[in-house]
């Protein structure tokens, strides 16, 4: 968790979750209204449906909510599709995202994916970097050839997510979900890519990617 990054840092965790859920529900309500107005321009639709959780410029300040700025078009489209079809469920946040995605038709999948790709990439996590931990994360990434699919700068391409600058808590969760088989991508590649990695190694990988800078 990167609690210092959230706007709820002085709030009791349970209350924080409630506030977050209320915000999500408001977004869902807004999404339902927005769904009726197809012709709105994408910036307005983004602000209405997505920005509250994913951040005005696509950099999330919310625990467990990913930054989605500059994600590849195909990646975003597939994730929106999976949410819409009810195939990424199981947590309150995922269920809330499902409700949002249900408002989208096929052409929306494309428009939102195109729009998200134009948002700026999230900057690396702030603060001092534990160089030893960062290097251990790099070792795991190199051994698993993460860069083969996700690009040497972890910017992602096609159906493969941008990883550089992603929230550490979200990366940790996503990697654990792939490892446990709770999440399947557009191909089965991620299942094998994280096979056999310990929780500690997944943590180091998430630490490094969330702080990745051009080497």
């Amino acid at each position: 968790m990167v609690a210092s990054e959230t706007p709820f840092r002085n709030v009791h965790p349970k209350a924080r979750r409630h506030t977050l859920l209320r915000r999500v529900l408001l977004t869902v309500a807004a999404a339902m209204i927005a769904g009726a107005a197809q012709a709105q321009d994408m910036t307005a639709r983004w602000q209405e449906m997505c920005a509250a959780c994913h951040g005005p410029a696509g950099r999330s300040e919310q625990a467990d909510v990913p930054s989605i700025g500059a994600q590849p078009v195909l990646f975003t489209a597939i994730q929106l599709f999976l949410f819409r079809e009810g195939r990424r469920t199981g947590t309150p946040l995922a269920d809330a995202m499902t409700e949002v995605a249900k408002q989208l038709n096929d052409s929306d999948l494309r428009s939102f994916a195109d729009f998200v790709a134009t948002l700026p990439p999230p900057p690396p996590e702030d603060g001092p970097v534990d160089e030893a931990k960062f290097r251990r994360g790099m070792d795991v990434a190199r051994a698993r050839r993460c860069e083969v699919c996700h690009n040497p700068d972890y910017s992602g391409r096609e159906q493969m997510a941008r990883l550089a600058g992603q929230r550490e808590d979200y990366l940790t969760k996503a990697l654990a979900d792939y490892k446990a088989g709770r999440r399947v991508g557009a191909q089965a590649a991620m299942l094998e890519a994280v096979a056999g990695l310990s929780d500690e190694q997944l943590g180091e990988l998430a630490y490094m990617l969330s702080r990745w800078r051009k080497q």
């Binding site: 929106l80 051994a143 557009a186 089965a188 056999g196």
Partner: protein, 404 residues
């Protein structure tokens, strides 16, 4: 449906569950660099750009579908569009065309022909990796990596599909190469492959093989060993021998190994080479030591490097010219693990002794500017002798006919 299938057990899953299942991959290294999945990956810049190709999760609009080409005298048309992730094709006794899907859609569709207009219904939803389907005696069989399910009297209940009956849940369940292709053979048995749970490894005997079983899941027998991952097979119309396509390993080189068409002449007694010998031509750089390709059955034909041959059918229809009688239509989905992309439906001609004499491209036009605009998956003969071809990239089904 019975909900999500267990897809967690890939290689790591298999290792974790090894106490339970007895799976031991030959290369369970302790350091990440030795993990089976990473073996043999090159470091060259061109290779670093290769990754599995995914389709957009929206089917291609009818007017944007690829303009496919066929030999003179044949005609190709779009039979159905808007079929997201269209994979395996089967036809019911009453004419319903069943279409499975794989990574993206997780659905099985039923398409009925209403006076030239196709009506599409989703009869199975959220069933992960349910690529394998077969229609037999009124029932639709659906296979996931772990289970085979049966939907009885399906064509009478397309609007409210019956609760699936469990045929078996004893398949290993790995996601990696765990999706199935299903056929009921001339012997009335269900033929089911289990792919190798890796790019290259030496898994135990529950993997890398084709099995057959009674329709109730009992009496499992091995039909062929040394099969890396087959996603298409058919029975010779005269000899009843089983022929199958097999996808060879990745990351060896741009042009090797070459994918295979194989013929089983002695069920249960033959080994087709994986992981020791590839394409009948070369021993594996890791697993081939101490072996020679002469130990294994040679392919009946070679289908191109990393070409990913999937569905195949012997042609027994009455519509196409005589020379196509008994020939095999083979879809080549096209490589991801190769910089040059290529995909088509090919036709393999056989002589009287069942030897492949030539292989020709038949349905082409799936690639533009080295990028897939469509990718053929399965092929099926219709009662009138035309053939249907599914395309999981564009989400469409094409019909090829001859004459008129």
């Amino acid at each position: 449906m019975s909900g999500r299938v267990h897809v967690g057990a890939s290689i790591a899953g298999a290792l974790i569950l090894s106490v339970m299942s007895g799976v031991v991959c030959a290369q369970q290294g302790t350091t990440p660099a030795e993990e089976p999945w990473a073996v043999g990956r090159p470091k060259a810049d061109a290779a670093l750009k290769l990754a599995p190709v995914a389709a957009f999760p929206v089917p291609t609009a009818p007017d944007k579908l690829p303009k496919l080409k066929v030999p003179a005298g044949f005609k190709v048309e779009v039979w159905a569009s808007g079929i997201l992730d269209a994979r395996s094709l089967r036809q019911g006794d009453k004419g319903t065309v069943f279409v499975s899907s794989l990574f993206v859609a997780s659905k099985v569709y039923a398409i009925t022909d209403k006076g030239g207009k196709r009506e599409v219904k989703t009869i199975v939803d959220k069933l992960e990796l349910a690529n394998g389907i077969e229609f037999y005696k009124g029932a639709l069989y659906v296979a996931t990596p772990k289970q085979i399910l049966r939907l009885d009297n399906i064509e009478a209940s397309l609007d409210s599909p019956p609760k699936p009956v469990l045929v078996t849940d004893k398949l290993p369940g790995d996601a990696h190469h765990g999706w199935k292709y299903l056929r009921v053979g001339p012997d009335g048995k269900l033929y089911v492959p289990v792919g190798a749970p890796c790019n290259i490894c030496n898994p135990d005997e529950r993997y890398a093989a084709i099995f057959r079983m009674n329709l109730d899941g009992s009496g499992v027998e091995t039909v062929a060993k040394g099969v890396r991952n087959t996603v298409g097979f058919d029975f010779h119309p005269v000899t009843k021998e089983l022929w199958f396509t097999d996808n060879q390993r990745d990351w060896l080189s741009e042009d090797m190994p070459v994918d295979e068409l194989n013929r089983i002449t002695a069920p249960g007694k033959q080994h087709f080479g994986f992981p020791f010998c590839h394409s009948g031509l070369m021993t594996d750089p890791e697993f081939g030591w101490g072996h020679t390709c002469d130990e294994f059955v040679k392919p009946a034909a070679l289908l191109g490097p990393h070409m990913a041959p999937l569905g195949m059918r012997f042609y027994t229809g009455k519509m196409f010219p005589q020379k196509y009688q008994g020939a095999i239509f083979i879809t080549r989905h096209g490589p991801w693990n190769r910089t040059k992309k290529d995909a088509d439906v090919a036709v393999a001609f056989l002589d009287k002794n069942g030897r492949v004499t030539s292989i020709e491209p038949f349905l082409t036009g799936f690639v533009a500017n080295n990028t897939y605009i469509g990718r053929p998956v399965d092929v099926m003969t219709m009662p009138d002798g035309s053939i249907l071809v599914s395309d999981d990239h564009a989400g469409a089904i094409y019909r090829v006919s001859y004459g008129r």
